[in-house]
Symmetry: C2
């Protein structure tokens, strides 16, 4: 197989973790006989510095000519006081919208060897294996009007039936491939968009008799993600609720530093990035944890290229290195061996080679 | 002191826990020489059944003639399929709006004797002592337009500068009385209403040089409430974020069943209710945990009547009963003694009498 991948390292630790992930990608290519053509461009703060634009036209063009995009992370204190249009995260919002990446998939799975780093009791966190499916291109993130008024400000949450249908369908398909359970999250006791959301789920579920569906209110899910996260399989929700709940879910297994994400649309194109941010405070030191970006590459192989075996091999290798007691500094605990970004990546690569 | 209190037992376990709290209130009155005049009315499902209205006019009138309101809980499966206007929670939303109860105070404090029931590791949860201040009468809960459109639905988040100012001021005052730290939560990298919110906090903080202020994004707070909840003192946020975060926070100490809340406005009038819901599955069995409602009475004494010593006495008594190893069934763990709602209330009353 031959594929073109756009690589957008971004800011902070982005370039370091992306470099690691690219090394792993090339090793997989070699081992499984695929050719990955990489091209690089800027996004976020780096793009503001070079092009005065968090998502330069040439970056867009390059991504348009690719089969998938690998992103590091954007943002940092350097750009914190910029105007809204010249802030790094605007690049993120714009690339999502430009490529219509409406489905953000965030798997959260407990690695047994990382549970010491979880704030939750072992017995609460150990069975977690869930996937949050967040609508990513609608809702209050993009709804108009959004502005100052004479005496205040307003934002608007907008959803069309079609927008809800496509994300809900996506979640049903995922549930069917996973544990067969879908939790749809809304605030139907207050919001009109949530009542629409709930109706769409109710209508769609007739096409998926094999999927067990529950509706749950966002406040209630915010509790249950902590008290009983093992309950969930696929969780689907709108953009803003998804932002909050997926970040909440990201810390329950102690593995924020290892969580990947995919932002996809109907076809095979997708953008893959670690859930963690740009961590400017440790950038350039060679200590960042590359696991999340490496696992994002695994998601790319699976979701954009349909390379399931290759994806599974990366996941197996990452798990094995953790099980051998090798960690980057963020996951240090008693008795673990602390490696640099590159050393840890070497371990993963050795694991794949053998 | 002589005070008039409206009592709205509501649905499910509401009547049981309210009866317990009223007993404690009367004992406090006797011991400290106050007279509390109680009058009762319906709200929620009970009000729908009797008056076809989740907030009947006579309930409003009675509350208008009171100094404070004690509420049990509303809701239950019986009314789940009612039209939006005839649902129990509509009574709650309407009473908040009618009385302009714009500040919802939700303290979360670890009881050492309850930490076994927490999903979090003891060392993460044990120092928690925070107060979420949620704006309760604005934002997307009440903003217009909220409706179906030709091809979908919309909701509107609206805040006036004045609405933000009063809640932020309230939070600053509370921070000053507590640990001197305020975390303001918004999504200023996306929402216009959040940018307004942040500006108001920045302006107000000049009047409170003694309060240490931080701004934090809602997704980041959703994580940190789990990884480091001990970090927080007062947390202030808008209505929808507050709904999600306060429920999330309510489970971190294992004490959801003991958490009180106050919904207040500028003057002394306020509505006090437990954070837990109506728990229809255990209603009528005499096993509900009355602690949250009893502690809501303590908040009433403190915030509406300025009776600090009396409030502290209730809190001390509740703590002492827990420390003695007496719990209702929801908090059962190895070696604890399980009491009924009434037996547990008796323990608290004995503790106050002595
Ligand atoms: C940076 C920000 C705009 C973004 C979002 O809210 O979507 C981020 O929090 C995320 O979840 O990817
Ligand atoms: C019942 C519901 C409308 C209400 C809310 O969202 O405000 C509840 O969740 C609460 O927090 O008191």
């Amino acid at each position: 197989m031959e594929k073109k991948i756009s690589v957008l390292p971004g800011d902070g630790i982005g370039p370091e973790v992306v470099a690691s992930a690219v090394r792993v990608l090339q090793v997989i290519g070699k081992r499984f006989n695929h050719t990955f053509h990489l091209s690089y461009a800027t996004i976020g703060g780096a793009a503001i510095d070079q092009h005065n634009n968090p998502l330069p036209d040439e970056t867009i063009e390059m991504c348009e000519n690719s089969d998938a995009v690998l992103l590091g992370a954007v943002g940092g204190p350097k750009w914190d006081n910029n105007s809204p249009e010249l802030r790094p995260e605007k690049g993120l919002l714009r690339i999502r919208k430009h490529f219509d990446l409406f489905a953000n998939l965030r798997p959260v799975k407990a690695f047994p060897s990382l549970l010491d780093a979880s704030p939750l009791k072992r017995e609460v966190a150990e069975n977690v294996d869930l996937m949050i499916v967040r609508e990513l291109t609608g809702g209050v993130y993009f709804g108009e009007p959004r502005m100052r008024t004479e005496n205040g400000a307003i934002d608007t949450t907008v959803y069309s039936t079609a927008e809800v249908e496509r994300i809900v369908e996506n979640a049903f398909e995922l549930a069917r491939l996973r544990g067969g359970k879908l939790c749809s999250v809304d605030k139907a006791n207050v919001l009109e968009t949530s009542r629409l959301w709930r109706e769409v789920v109710e209508a769609k579920k007739k096409e998926y008799p094999d999927v067990q569906v529950e509706h749950n209110l966002v406040d209630s899910v915010a509790m249950k993600l902590i008290t009983n996260p093992g309950h969930y399989d696929v969780v689907v929700t709108e953009n803003m609720f998804g932002d909050i709940l997926s970040d909440e879910a990201s810390v329950i297994t102690g593995s924020l530093g290892v969580l990947p994400s995919a932002s996809i649309r109907g076809d095979n194109f997708g953008l893959y990035e670690p859930v963690h941010g740009s961590a400017p405070e440790i950038a350039g030191q060679g200590v960042a944890n590359p696991a999340a970006t490496i696992l994002s590459v695994a998601m790319m192989l699976q979701y954009s290229f349909g390379l399931k075996e290759e994806a599974a091999e990366i996941e197996r290798a990452v798990s094995a290195v953790f099980d051998d007691g090798y960690f980057t500094a963020d996951l240090a605990s008693d008795g673990s061996r602390i490696l640099s970004t590159n050393e840890w990546t070497d371990k993963v690569i050795n694991e794949i080679d053998t």
